[in-house]
């Protein structure tokens, strides 16, 4: 791959990582030591791109807002739900295991999907083999929840709605 093509592909990712790392440095060093922190961030960005290449994924601003709101409210609800079941004297669990064909493309979208499922009410990601996602549910039908989540993730990355895709 030519240097120029790499530069244009990696630059957005490099900027995002550098900005996040600057925040981390600010948190760790409490605003001091930028003479070391600056070059360190640069070196870390270069090493990261070398060790673990990532591509910047454009996020949809409105989708991001909606996703964050959805994620926070649902994970709070998920925590409450499972806490209620754990503390309930009769331990009400509706155990079910399902396999679902994931419509989202491989990459960050799928990572966010699988990473989020386990925090939502009643669902737990158990396996991902090619496009087949195994989900373990304790609150009845996990399908509806996951389809809704999939749509939110699609919105987050500005992807066409999962249902409309071939």
């Amino acid at each position: 791959m030519s240097l120029r093509r790499r530069a244009t592909q990696d630059l957005p990712a490099a900027f995002i990582i550098a900005a996040l790392l600057a925040l981390l440095w600010l948190g760790l060093a409490e605003g001091e030591g930028w003479w070391f922190g600056g070059p360190a961030i640069l070196a870390v960005v270069l090493m990261t791109l070398h060790l673990s290449p990532v591509r910047a994924q454009p996020l949809h601003p409105l989708g991001l807002l909606r996703f964050v709101a959805y994620f926070i409210s649902q994970s709070l609800y998920g925590g409450l739900d499972v806490a209620g079941r754990a503390l309930h004297p009769r331990l009400p669990l509706l155990i079910e295991k399902r396999q679902i064909a994931v419509q989202l493309p491989d990459g960050p979208a799928r990572t966010v999907l699988v990473g989020t499922i386990s925090l939502l009410p009643g669902t737990l990601a158990v396996d991902l083999e090619d496009d087949l996602l195994t989900v373990h549910g304790i609150a009845g039908d996990p399908m509806a929840n996951i389809r809704r989540l999939e749509k939110r993730v699609a919105d987050l990355f500005g992807l066409p709605d999962a249902g409309m895709r071939i």
Partner: protein, 329 residues
């Protein structure tokens, strides 16, 4: 006031009981695997204990080593112990060593005599008392007393610790060759879902935190050991994810990385005889820069040694993706 004292005592007592119980379980457990889990939990509790005792330096080190590396190393040992039971596996390497055996005796004798001479040359009476050391630490050019002890007052200990770490690696290599243990943690063919994302997320954060600990070491809790252990843990993670390929040929970069810390430190010990009567004394000027350089080299060596100790191979190669072999070390 009494309430907070009561809570503090309760916390400490529970911590003590927990530590003793975990240690007992780790030693007397019926299964190796359970013992490893117990030992890892023991490490976590130990870090909380150091935090409670007001030793953040040790808490950082325990967190980096106990939570990251020790568990992985013990699991590896577990695996080696099991695979030794079936002996039908191919040896990793079967080659007589190039160094003649008779050299070992004079070499170790020479090292012993050298050490004895060094011990003899340390002044026995009139040495620094703890009070004097604490006083000296207050006016030291390094603001973190721990680092100033490690790199100035007791620099010889640190130097020998580096030698011990290198020896551990060499010992492990010899053992692996002689016992014909299989390559540990072979690179898996099938990629694990979510693992690449985890790596991409954790790599920059761990790298920068490691560099922060290295930078902070001169004036705040941190330093080469914590930073090195953290970077080593990252290396172990890459190996577990199959991103490092163990190779049989010794690599130049690997060899350089594992020796640079001890090498630079020893070089400094020799050179310091030029400006001071005893080895390992810091010069009047440029001491801070010198300490940073040595610390950096120590960090690299600690990280590389820990990773190679875990993998048990001669060197490692980075593999970008499955259809993209090669790449830098």
């Amino acid at each position: 006031m009494p309430v907070s004292d009561l809570l503090a005592s309760g916390f400490d007592v529970l911590l003590c009981i927990g530590l003793l119980w975990l240690a007992w379980q780790a030693i007397t457990g019926t299964g190796l695997f359970r013992s490893v889990v117990m030992f890892m939990v023991f490490g976590l509790m130990m870090a909380v204990t150091w935090a409670r005792l007001g030793s953040p330096d040790l808490a950082l080190a325990e967190a980096a080593i106990g939570a990251g590396i020790t568990g992985a190393l013990l699991l590896n040992a577990c695996r080696a112990a099991v695979s030794e039971m079936r002996s039908d596996e191919q040896p990793l390497r079967d080659r007589p060593s190039g160094v003649p055996k008779w050299l070992a005796l004079p070499l170790s004798l020479a090292a012993g005599v050298g050490l004895a001479w060094l011990m003899h040359s340390i002044p026995r009476d009139g040495g620094p008392t703890p009070e004097a050391a604490i006083k000296a630490a207050e006016t030291h050019f390094l603001d973190n007393p721990i680092t100033s002890v490690l790199l100035d007052f007791r620099a010889i200990d640190t130097l020998l610790e580096m030698a011990v770490l290198l020896l551990a690696l060499v010992g492990a290599r010899v053992l692996l060759d002689q016992r014909r243990l299989p390559a540990l943690y072979p690179v898996p063919d099938h990629p694990m879902p979510m693992l690449p994302s985890l790596l991409a997320m954790i790599t920059p954060v761990l790298l920068l935190t490691g560099l922060y600990l290295f930078w902070a070491g001169s004036h705040a809790p941190g330093g080469a050991f914590q930073a090195g252990a953290l970077l080593g843990a990252l290396g172990v993670m890459y190996q577990l994810a199959g991103r490092f390929t163990p190779t049989h040929e010794p690599g130049t970069v690997n060899a350089l990385l594992i020796t640079v810390g001890l090498g630079l430190f020893s070089l400094f010990a020799c050179l310091s005889l030029l400006w001071a009567p005893a080895p390992l004394s810091h010069p009047e000027q440029g001491a801070y820069a010198l300490v940073l350089l040595i610390e950096f080299a120590l960090m690299l060596s600690i990280a590389a040694t820990l990773v190679l100790l875990f993998v048990g191979s001669r060197s490692l190669q980075l593999r970008r993706s499955t259809n993209h072999p090669g790449g830098r070390q």
